[in-house]
C-alpha cells in the first residue's frame, strides 16, 4: 500500500521521447499548477509542471520549504485531433509545507528545441496546523468492548482516521504473554503509511511480529454506521518484566489517504476514470496510551527450580544412549515446548552424576507468532562419562507458572539410567581424552561441623599440666632409681665375684648340698653302691672347694693340716677322717660296711655343717 515513488529519472524520460515534434513549434507552453493555494502545515498538496511539447533539461525550482512526499512523477499524454497530434508532459510533486507563512515557488525551467522555457511562479499560503485543525471530535463512541479482560483505545487525529490499540489482557501476571494489536481505521481509502513510530514497550520484553515483508491486510468494518477501511497494522507480543502499573505508550503513524477534493475534474477523462476529484493527503494518527496492571507471581508453593517461565509448557527429554563405554559421548536433549515467555527461560538445572564431564548446552529455538507467541526451545547437552559404573540422572524437571490455573506446574522428566562400562584401552590409550574427575574432597562438600564428643570428656584441673609437674618428675625418677639400684647391685656383685677362691669356698657347702641330694635319691632306693659313690664325691669335692686343694691332692694329712689352720676342732677332724675312711672301705668293699646308710647320710650332713660352723667362727 505504500506509495511507490516513481523514481525514473527525468533525464531518462526526456531522452527516450520517441516523438519528435521539432517541426511543431507552435504555442509551446510550460505551466505550473498547484492543487491548493491555501493550506495548513502538514497538509499535502500537489504541484505539477506541464509542457505541451517534448523537452529536456528540466530544472525543478527550490522546494526547501516543503517536504517532498513524492515526485517528480511524470505522465505523458498524446492526442491526435484531426490529424494534428499534440502531446503534453506533466511532472508533479506531492508536497507538504514545513511551517506557516507565505511561500513563493520559483519557476521551473525546461529546454525545448534549444529554447529555454520557464513556467509561472506559484504563491502558497500556509496557515495553522493540519492536525490541530482537525483534532478529533470522534473519540467517543468508537471504543468497542472486546471482552472483560481486553481493552481498546483509539485516538484519531482526524475525523476519519484513528488507531485502535487492542490488548489481550488488561491485567496479567509477571511474565505472562500479552498480545497488543494496533489497527488503523480510516474512512477514506488508505494508500499507505509512513514514518510510523512503534512505542517503546518499557518494562516489557517485546517481540514484534515480523511485518517487514508482510502485506498489511485491509478489510472493511462498520463503525457507527460508517464504513471504515481497517488495516491490521502490527501485532506485538509483550512479556512484562516487572510488576506494577506498566503503560503502553501511544504509537504514531502517518497515513496517506486518498481524499476527494473540491476541485472539478480537469477534463472528461479525469472525470470518467474517477480521477481529478481525489488527492493524496497525509494524516497523522496517534493511539492512546494504555495501562496494564502486572501482578507479581505468588510466593507460596513456588518450586525451587522455578526460573521465571510463565505460560503453558511441556517438557520432553531424550537421551541418545543408555549404555556407553567410558569416554564415549552421550547427548541429552531437553525440549521445552509451549506458549509463553519461552525465549526468556533459562535451561533447567540438571544434577549430572559426578564423573561426568558436561558442557554448556547447545540451544536451538523455533518460534511461531500465530496469534500467540509460542515455540520450542531445545537444550542439547553433551556428556562424557569419565568413570565406569551405573549412574542415574534424576530430579530432572521443569517448573512454570500457569496464569490460567494461577498455580505453579512442575513437569517431571523421566529418570535416565546410564550404564558406563570400562573402556578396555581407556587411559592406556594415548588417543583417549584423559579422565578428568573433579577433585572435590569430601571435606569441601561437608560444610557442617562434626558432632560433639560424648562419654568421658577426660576432665582435668585447669592449668595443671602433667608435663613439668612433680608427677612427671616422679615418673622420670622411677626408671632412674631402678637403673641406679641395678648399677649398685651389679658393682658389689662384681667385686665379690672377682675373688675366685673366696667364691669357691663360699659356694662349697651349697655345692655339697646339691650332691648330697643326689645321694639321698640312691639312699631312698637303698642302692648302697651308688649311694656311697655320691656321698663320697660330695664330701671330697666339698673339702676340695673349701680348702682350695684339688681333689687329686687330697690326703688325710693334708686335710688335717689345713683344717687345723682354720681353727677346726680336733674332734671334727677325727670324725672327718673316720668318715672318709669308712667311705673308702665302702667303695672298695661295700659288703664290709654294715652301717645303716641313713645314719651315714645324716652324719655326713652334720659333719659338713660342723666344718662350716667352725670355719666361719
Amino acid at each position: 500500500m505504500m506509495i511507490k515513488k516513481k523514481n525514473i529519472s527525468l533525464f531518462l524520460f526526456l531522452s527516450i521521447s520517441f516523438f519528435l515534434f521539432s517541426f511543431q513549434s507552435t504555442a509551446q507552453k510550460f505551466t505550473a499548477q498547484t492543487s491548493k493555494n491555501q493550506l495548513a502545515v502538514g497538509e499535502l498538496f500537489q504541484i505539477s509542471f506541464t509542457l505541451n511539447a517534448s523537452g529536456s533539461n528540466f530544472k525543478a525550482p527550490n522546494l526547501n520549504d516543503f517536504d517532498v512526499y513524492s515526485g517528480p512523477n511524470q505522465s505523458t499524454s498524446m492526442q491526435i485531433i484531426n490529424g494534428n497530434m499534440s502531446q503534453s508532459i506533466s511532472l508533479s510533486y506531492m508536497l507538504s509545507p514545513k511551517k506557516e507563512g507565505k511561500f513563493t515557488i520559483a519557476p521551473a525551467s525546461i529546454v525545448v528545441n534549444g529554447n529555454k522555457l520557464e513556467s509561472n511562479s506559484i504563491v502558497i499560503e500556509v496557515k495553522g496546523n493540519a492536525n490541530q485543525q482537525n483534532a478529533g471530535n470522534r473519540n467517543s463512541g468508537n471504543n468497542q468492548a472486546a471482552g472483560n479482560n481486553s481493552g481498546v483505545s483509539s485516538a484519531s487525529s482526524n475525523d476519519d482516521v484513528f488507531i485502535k490499540t487492542i490488548v489481550s489482557k488488561k491485567s496479567c501476571y509477571l511474565g505472562e504473554q500479552v498480545v497488543v494489536n494496533h489497527k488503523i481505521y480510516s474512512k477514506p481509502t488508505l494508500r499507505g503509511f509512513q514514518n510510523y513510530k512503534m512505542p517503546n514497550y518499557t518494562g516489557f520484553w517485546s517481540q514484534n511480529e515480523n511485518n517487514k515483508n508482510k502485506q498489511i491486510q485491509l478489510s472493511q468494518e462498520n463503525v457507527d454506521g460508517s464504513i471504515y477501511y481497517v488495516a491490521d497494522f502490527s501485532t506485538s507480543y509483550l512479556f512484562p518484566q516487572r510488576s506494577g502499573q506498566l503503560s503502553i505508550e501511544p504509537m504514531e503513524v502517518e497515513c496517506v489517504v486518498r481524499r476527494k477534493t473540491n476541485r472539478q475534474p480537469q477534463n472528461i477523462f479525469e472525470q470518467f476514470f474517477g480521477g481529478g476529484g481525489y488527492e493524496d493527503a497525509v494524516v497523522k494518527a496517534k493511539s492512546k496510551a494504555m495501562v496494564i496492571d502486572v501482578k507479581a507471581l505468588p510466593e507460596n508453593n513456588k518450586p525451587a527450580d522455578f526460573n521465571g517461565a510463565v505460560g503453558n509448557f511441556s517438557l520432553k527429554a531424550e537421551i541418545s544412549k543408555e549404555k556407553v563405554k567410558e569416554n564415549e559421548s552421550i547427548n541429552l536433549k531437553l525440549s521445552i515446548t509451549g506458549r509463553g515467555n519461552i525465549k526468556l527461560t533459562d535451561a533447567p538445572k540438571i544434577n549430572f552424576p559426578e564423573g561426568f564431564e558436561t558442557y554448556d548446552p547447545k540451544i536451538s529455538e523455533s518460534y511461531s507468532e500465530a496469534g500467540n507467541f509460542s515455540g520450542t526451545k531445545t537444550y542439547d547437552y553433551l556428556l562424557i562419562p569419565r568413570r565406569s559404573g551405573e549412574f542415574t540422572i534424576n530430579n530432572l524437571s521443569f517448573s512454570y507458572f500457569d496464569p490460567e490455573k494461577k498455580s505453579y506446574v512442575n513437569v517431571p522428566a523421566p529418570e535416565f539410567k546410564i550404564v558406563v562400562s570400562p573402556d578396555p584401552n581407556g587411559s592406556a590409550n594415548g588417543n583417549s581424552v584423559q579422565a578428568y574427575v573433579p577433585k572435590t574432597t569430601i571435606e569441601e562438600k561437608n560444610n557442617d561441623i562434626r558432632y560433639i564428643k560424648t562419654g568421658d570428656l577426660k576432665l582435668e584441673k585447669a592449668d595443671q599440666h602433667f608435663f613439668n609437674s612433680w608427677k612427671h618428675y616422679a615418673l622420670l625418677a622411677l626408671p632412674l632409681l631402678c637403673f641406679t639400684g641395678f648399677i649398685v647391685s651389679k658393682k658389689s656383685h662384681d667385686i665379690r665375684n672377682s675373688d675366685v677362691v673366696a667364691v669357691k669356698q663360699r659356694k662349697a657347702a651349697r655345692l655339697a648340698k646339691k650332691q648330697l641330694q643326689k645321694a639321698e635319691v640312691f639312699k631312698n632306693q637303698n642302692n648302697k653302691d651308688a649311694f656311697y659313690q655320691e656321698v663320697s664325691f660330695a664330701l671330697n669335692s666339698y673339702i676340695s672347694n673349701k680348702l682350695n686343694i684339688p681333689i687329686a691332692d687330697l690326703s688325710k694329712d693334708n686335710i688335717s693340716l689345713q683344717l687345723m689352720k682354720r681353727n677346726v676342732s680336733d674332734a671334727t677332724i677325727t670324725k672327718l677322717n673316720a668318715t672318709l675312711n669308712d667311705f673308702d672301705i665302702a667303695r672298695y668293699a661295700p659288703s664290709a660296711v654294715s652301717n645303716d646308710i641313713h645314719i651315714v647320710y645324716n652324719n655326713t650332713i652334720e659333719l659338713i655343717k660342723n666344718i662350716e660352723d667352725e670355719t666361719r667362727a
Binding site: 562434626r450 576432665l459 608435663f467
Partner: protein, 247 residues
C-alpha cells in the same frame, strides 16, 4: 605402671568427675535437642568449676557455633586445639568455622617454616610429651642394662639406648616449648562483632582499622584494659582486652 598412675590421678579427681559427668550429660541432651544456649551454660559451668579438657572446649565450641556465636566458637576451638593439637575433629571444625569470619587477612609470613614449627609442637599434646619423655627414658635405661649384662649384641643395645636418650631429651625440649606456648597467651580471637583497632591505648585514640568476630590476632603486649595486637599481614594496633579471648 602407666595405667596405675593414671588410676591414681583419676581417683584424685573422682569427686569432680561425678559432678562434671552429670553436667556433661545434661549439656549433651540440650545440644541434641537444639537448646544450644542451655548446652553452653552447662559447659561453661563445668569450666567455671575449675575443670578443663580439650573435648570439653570442643563441645562448647560446637554449641557456640550452632548458636551463631562465631567468635566464641573459634576461641573455644583454639583452646581445645591447644590442649590436644592432634585431634582431627577439632581441626576440621575449626577450619569450617574459620571460613565464616568476615575478615580475610593476607598472610605475609613464611608459612612453610611456621607450619613445620607448629607441626612439631602440635604432634602430641603436652601430656603426650610428658609420657614420651618417661617412656623413652625407661627404654634408654633398659637398653643400657641389657648392654651391661649382655655379652653378644653389646653394640646394638648401646645404640638403642643412645637413640632413646636423644628421644628423651627431644621430648623434654619440645615439651617445654609447648608448655611455654600453652601458658603464655600469645594469641587471641576477636569475640565482639566489630572492634575498632586504634593506634594508642587511650580512649581518644584514632581508629586505624576495624576487625570482626572470629579473627585471630597475635598478642604483643597485654594488660587488663588494653592489648597490643598484630595481624598476620603485619598490621599492628591496640584494642580493649575485653573484646578478646586470649589463648
Amino acid at each position: 605402671m602407666k595405667q596405675g598412675l593414671k588410676l591414681i590421678i583419676l581417683l584424685c579427681f573422682v569427686s569432680h568427675f561425678i559432678f562434671g559427668n552429670e553436667l556433661i550429660e545434661k549439656a549433651k541432651n540440650a545440644y541434641d535437642k537444639g537448646e544450644y544456649k542451655l548446652a553452653i551454660e552447662h559447659y561453661e559451668n563445668i569450666i567455671a568449676g575449675g575443670e578443663t579438657s580439650s573435648l570439653l572446649h570442643y563441645n562448647l565450641a560446637n554449641a557456640y557455633f550452632k548458636n551463631n556465636e562465631i567468635g566464641k566458637a573459634i576461641y573455644q576451638y583454639h583452646l581445645a586445639h591447644k590442649l590436644d593439637p592432634a585431634d582431627k575433629d577439632i581441626k576440621h571444625n575449626l577450619t569450617i568455622v574459620s571460613k565464616k569470619t568476615k575478615d580475610q587477612i593476607e598472610n605475609k609470613e613464611n608459612y612453610f617454616v611456621k607450619n613445620i614449627e607448629s607441626g612439631v609442637l602440635t604432634a602430641y599434646s603436652l601430656n603426650g610429651w610428658a609420657w614420651s619423655s618417661i617412656i623413652s627414658l625407661s627404654f634408654a635405661l633398659l637398653f643400657f642394662i641389657v648392654f651391661l649384662i649382655n655379652e653378644k649384641f653389646k653394640k646394638i643395645f648401646f645404640w638403642l639406648g643412645a637413640i632413646h636418650v636423644l628421644i628423651f631429651i627431644g621430648s623434654l625440649i619440645v615439651g617445654f616449648a609447648a608448655l611455654n606456648e600453652v601458658t603464655n597467651k600469645n594469641n587471641a580471637i576477636i569475640l565482639s562483632a566489630e572492634v575498632s583497632v586504634v593506634n594508642t591505648p587511650t580512649e581518644e585514640a584514632k581508629e586505624q582499622f576495624k576487625l570482626h568476630e572470629g579473627t585471630k590476632v597475635t598478642v604483643l603486649e597485654s594488660n587488663s584494659k588494653w592489648t597490643s595486637i598484630q595481624l598476620e599481614n603485619g598490621n599492628e594496633g591496640w584494642l580493649q582486652t575485653s573484646h578478646l579471648g586470649l589463648f
